[in-house]
């Protein structure tokens, strides 16, 4: 009875501490105008991506609405269906503005989902290895070695052969490739953290293993994880683009930003700049805004940064 009360008291205490910390982080975050700009940009992208089907002039995935007689028109041209293509059209007669809005959706989903899943797997394995050591560590790390040795393109092609092309296959391929990277990275960081006094302190207070790992080690490894994860959302979006470029990515009739760039890149030398330029700019801004936000988050979640400030 007393044990329960004290546990729940501890819980509510921790919750308020957590809220306090969040508030602090938020206040620190908005002190950087660049980061706020990043957030606004990123939110704008997310809204655009969410409502792409409603705001696009054309459904670029519906073959019935496309006409190759409208293809490669420069920005501002009017299509056969009466739509004005403000950003021009691509080689299939797709309105690039609509294609970019829909492409944003796919790129964001692929980037965020694949990194999120790989982070969870990688962080669990990495911290587990560093904390438990011994045989668990050895075996897990050898699996990581094994995974890193398997080329992305090979995994992507095998998935493609067995299941066909699709966004979900791209995500599976990306997770398969990336989790090992996080695991190795997190193990490196956690190994250093483990030697610090607060871990010993927690253990000596009799905290259970999972608690030491996830309540003490994890938060302190988090800044490193966020840096790597933001870099890797960008990386995952690029990797998806590369897979599409090499012919093993999303379906060609449902292009992501990366595939739009890949499709248009053959036309760069011939002066039809808009086909890959506009998707390129959209991708650049998207990745840039993600990174601005991630970068600031890293700064303000850093458990030591406030002590440095004084």
């Amino acid at each position: 009875m007393t044990l329960q009360t004290s546990a729940s008291a501890l819980g509510s205490h921790q919750r308020s501490r957590f809220l306090q910390r969040m508030r602090k982080i938020f206040r620190a975050f908005i002190r950087s105008p660049l980061a706020v700009f990043g957030v606004i940009l990123l939110l704008a992208f997310i809204v655009l991506a969410l409502f792409a089907p409603q705001i696009s002039p054309q459904n670029p995935y519906d073959l019935d609405t496309l006409d190759i007689m409208d293809n490669m028109l420069p920005p501002g041209s009017e299509l056969g269906t009466g739509i004005t293509a403000w950003l021009g059209t691509d080689d299939q007669g797709r309105d690039l503005l609509s294609a970019i809005l829909h492409g944003l959706r796919i790129s964001i989903v692929v980037g965020v989902v694949s990194v999120f899943i790989s982070c969870i797997i990688g962080a669990t394995v990495g911290i587990g290895c560093a904390y438990l050591g011994g045989r668990v560590d050895t075996i897990a790390m050898r699996i990581v070695d094994l995974q890193l040795a398997f080329p992305t393109i090979l995994i992507a092609l095998m998935l493609l052969s067995v299941f066909g092309r699709g966004v979900d296959k791209v995500i599976i391929a990306l997770v398969t490739v990336q989790w090992a990277y996080y695991a190795r990275m997190m193990r490196g960081v956690a190994l250093v953290e483990r030697e610090k006094e607060y871990v010993d302190a927690a253990i000596s207070f009799g905290a259970p293993q999972w608690r030491v790992m996830f309540r003490h080690l994890l938060p302190n490894c988090l800044p490193a994880l966020i840096v790597i994860a933001t870099i890797h959302i960008a990386n995952a979006i690029s990797l998806e683009a590369t897979m599409s470029f090499l012919g093993v990515g999303v379906p060609v009739t449902e292009p992501s930003l990366g595939m739009l760039i890949a499709n248009g890149y053959g036309y760069l030398l011939s002066g039809k700049y808009w086909i890959s330029m506009f998707p390129g700019i959209a991708l650049l801004l998207l990745v840039f805004s993600i990174n601005l936000v991630g970068d600031r988050l890293r700064e303000v979640t850093d458990p030591y940064s406030h002590s440095n400030a004084h």
Binding site: L34, G133, G134, D137, T138, M141, R142, D145, L146, L148, A149, F150, P151, T152, I153, L154, L157, M158, S161, V162, Y181, R184, M185, G188, V189, L191, V192, R194, E195, P223, A224, V227, I231, A234, N235, S238, A241, T242, F245, L246, G258, I261, A262, Y265, L268, L269, S276, G280, L283, L284, V287, F288, N291, L292, D295, R298, D302, Y304, S307, N308
Partner: protein, 325 residues
């Protein structure tokens, strides 16, 4: 330490064995090489003959044991496409990619580490802001896009550098090298810069983070308090400790370049290992795919081993836990 070494070597072999086995069975998913390579041949007798010639008619397990037996004797089979041992096909391409990787890594060390460490030590300065914001651009666009931009500026517009391919080579240690000549270097430069842009940004970010983390450790503060000159603190304490995560990442990145420089090599028509892999996958050149994965897993196992070793040497505190691993 000796038992640590022994265990790691044995573990490495286990990884190699499992990888090879996995890839051996996975390549069957990729399609039948005879159908892909004989696509213009209509003769069924010749098709059957080719299947028998290549041993593809035998049961999968028999093929597997046959392969293992030969592999144990150092023979990974003949390439279906090139008609010579798969390993020699790979070794022909290795120097091209090594050149690319070495130049890109050197560039990222020379540019990335000083910039990142400085930015990390002065993390409230304008310098930090500029470097860190700039580094974000470095990994914001896919390689093939950056590559194409560089081609259109430096090759097509300015005519300063070749647009692709590899330079003339000279033979050294039985392999063909191109960076031994000035002309050869001009060919490596653009793809290496394309690869390096990303690596530089990555190294800047990692070294900045670790420099900051190290800077506020107690022993650094103690050193400051004891009046150790700042230059010495940077050189001895911060550099040594901040460099650990950088080494981890560099080790992995080096292996990654060798294994996955596919898109850069494709854009620049650069005949390296990445391009070989994609060609072999497309042509279902099974022996080359298998040999390739053997090779990359060997590289990864070795670099990871070396990274751990460096860790142990540079940071005595974790020597114990490493030897436990």
């Amino acid at each position: 330490m000796i038992s640590f070494l022994l265990r790691r070597v044995l573990g490495g072999f286990a990884v190699l064995y499992v990888t090879v086995t996995l890839v051996f069975f996975s390549v069957f998913v990729l399609g039948n090489p005879v159908d892909v390579l004989m696509s213009n041949t209509t003769d069924p007798a010749e098709r059957e003959a080719a299947i028998i010639r290549l041993g593809l008619d035998r049961p999968v397990l028999e093929q597997y044991f046959h392969f293992l037996w030969n592999a144990a004797h150092g023979d990974l089979g003949n390439s279906f496409v090139y008609g010579k041992p798969a390993m020699s096909v790979i070794f022909e391409r290795l120097p091209a990619t090594l050149e690319l990787a070495i130049i890109a890594i050197i560039a990222s060390i020379l540019i990335g580490i000083p910039l990142g460490l400085t930015a990390g030590l002065k993390h409230r300065s304008a310098f930090n802001k500029i470097v860190m914001t700039g580094s974000i651009f470095g990994f914001s666009l896919p390689y093939f896009w950056v590559g194409l931009m560089l081609i259109s500026v430096f090759a097509v517009q300015l005519h300063w550098l070749p647009s692709g391919g590899r330079g003339p080579t000279t033979s050294f240690l039985g392999l063909n090298w191109s960076i031994t000549s000035l002309e050869g270097l001009t060919y490596v430069l653009l793809p290496a810069v394309t690869l390096a842009l990303y690596k530089i940004s990555l190294i800047i970010r990692i070294s900045e983070t670790s420099a900051r983390n190290v800077n506020r450790q107690d022993y650094i503060r103690t050193a400051h308090a004891r009046g150790v000159p700042p230059a010495r603190i940077v050189a001895v304490h911060i550099l040594k400790n901040a460099i650990l995560p950088v080494i981890t990442v560099l080790g992995i990145e080096f292996g990654t370049i060798i294994a996955y420089s596919v898109s850069v090599e494709t854009v620049f028509s650069y005949p390296g290992m990445g391009k070989l892999l994609i060609d072999s996958v497309i042509n279902t050149d099974r022996p080359v795919i298998i040999a390739y994965v053997c090779m990359t897993s060997f590289i990864f196992v070795t670099t990871n081993f070396l990274v751990d070793l460096l860790y142990a040497i540079l940071d005595p505190r974790i020597r114990h836990s490493v030897s436990g691993a």
